[in-house]
Symmetry: C2
Amino acid sequence: MSQRPRRATILEVASAAGVSKTSVSRYYSGERDRLSADMSRRIIAAAERLGYQPNPMARGLKGGPSGLIGMLVADIRNPFSVAVMHGVEQACREQGLSLMVCNTDNDPEQERKHLALLSSYRIEGLVVNAAGRYSEALSQLADGGTPVVLLDRALAGVDADEVGLDNAAAVDMALDHLIGQGYRRLLFITEPPAQASSRQARLDRFQARCAEHRLTGETLSTDLGDDDALAAALDRLTSPERDDQASDAMGPAAILCGNGQVTLAMTRCCHRRGISLGPLGLIGIDELDWCDLVDPGITTLAQPTDDIGQAALNALRNRPASQAGRAPRRLLFAPHLIARGSTQLSPG
Amino acid sequence: MSQRPRRATILEVASAAGVSKTSVSRYYSGERDRLSADMSRRIIAAAERLGYQPNPMARGLKGGPSGLIGMLVADIRNPFSVAVMHGVEQACREQGLSLMVCNTDNDPEQERKHLALLSSYRIEGLVVNAAGRYSEALSQLADGGTPVVLLDRALAGVDADEVGLDNAAAVDMALDHLIGQGYRRLLFITEPPAQASSRQARLDRFQARCAEHRLTGETLSTDLGDDDALAAALDRLTSPERDDQASDAMGPAAILCGNGQVTLAMTRCCHRRGISLGPLGLIGIDELDWCDLVDPGITTLAQPTDDIGQAALNALRNRPASQAGRAPRRLLFAPHLIARGSTQLSPG
DNA sequence: TTGTATGCGTTATCAA
DNA sequence: TTGATAACGCATACAA
């Protein structure tokens, strides 16, 4: 409709209200109490009429607060990431902040670009859940004073707090549950650990605890791309034809899936091969929509994603002014066991 | 590490390189060919050393291209939205654009805020998948010349193209499939149609086609909040105790779920009540991770989400300069039927 | 081919 | 309590 739909500027509002632009600026900078009632009235009237809204770019140029939080997500299609993002978002809303999300799709180049963008938009904080490599750009941002929180991964050389799952506790819970249910031969499956510290942490803990308990604890690292690797591991676990000893004597077998993606891939693999769960144990880290729906129900360790998201934003905001030399904080959350049929040896 | 981690400015690069800032600006504005080799070399060296990167805010202030595409998502936890977002993102990457995503969580206030933000960041286009109400802010943005594409919903009064599923074709496919499989009593379940035009379109088509075929075609609109509504509808459909006529004579019953969320809720409802699918038909619009995993497999109509995402970005970019009076384009995509056990009357 | 000067919309500093 | 003016970092018309 309108011929000149360009957004009104502070100057236009000022002249329309018959005041100086400084006053208008003050009004929008939260110094309303320092303006006379009459002035406030005229400003708001003019602004209303012109549909004025301060331009964040110009604002940002001057260095004022942007009210912007950024979030970098490695894989937007991972339900866990989305769930946490939702938590961050809720927290932002409560504090009147806006959240901008960039998906890097595990592409370092994208990560760099998005980082540069967010940084130049003067975000007041950044939640990062990106590829686990060291990032020069990220480090620069953190050194530049922008609070950074690492989500679900640690990154050496970057001055940032960490928020995520208590991986050791999670693995312990999984193992205790499996052992308590009578499983004795364990297999841990993970996506490549090099890409995320949490994967490595879970893997390490798994191996340590298995050794402690003197249990057979094998591990498989795969990118889930080829079903064959999963199938092979499955065969090894389920077929009792082993050289060393009679595996039956060693008791039933169970799989611990390192995250939701693995749980999906593994469940699918079992489903295809007609392997029924329960007799073969299956427990996964991360709760998913469908875990109560597929056959005996998939036992999971649910992460408190909302809490994690909230904590991430809090860590961003409550950070002590002087960071120098301070050891990064680590906010770890315990998971919640949801026991279902897939870890029940005999159908209840 | 660095004491003065503030990002380097064009001026600093210029003086470090011993040239004027204009030349540096030119270098970064794609006019490198108009600079002498020597100058280019010095500029890039200085920029490299200082880690210089142009400030998009300052750039944006002047009105240059921002290389930014915005996307508004109503519910980030909806896998369909995420899948489309991924498509948009891929397309952006190919064109060297950055995508910023804001989740409105179906909150009009959030939508308004995010819209204002994106708009002020001079986005070159906006993909909107938000609540289906008319939005003054959105309309203003579109009138202001920013290309807008409506995703999966129409919005009267907004000058924008539409991209999404061919809802009529989808419902037709579903109905043809169900009827072909022998189902005769049909129930369509949708989330509140008022919130999204696509829901209404699917509902309308369902009713029209059922009338055409002289089939019992009931509908249920629910927000999925209470399981009871679903359960009641289920009972009505499955229990043959009806007043009008012997329902058995009318043949087997099937449910068409209006989207993925409905499919999930309905599958869960059936699962809880021990109703086996197949004998009760179930088909859902939207393919989901777990559809091949739960009991007989859930038949779905998969949307070509990547194509839709691509098309959305294309619509944004290839838009004729003068929009005035032009009827909005409508880019509709046909779904792809994935037949599974849930629409097979007798187990194959 | 290179440089100078000006303006983009806002906030901050200072003066009134 | 208010206003004039100088930055902020960059692009661009214009001059050299």
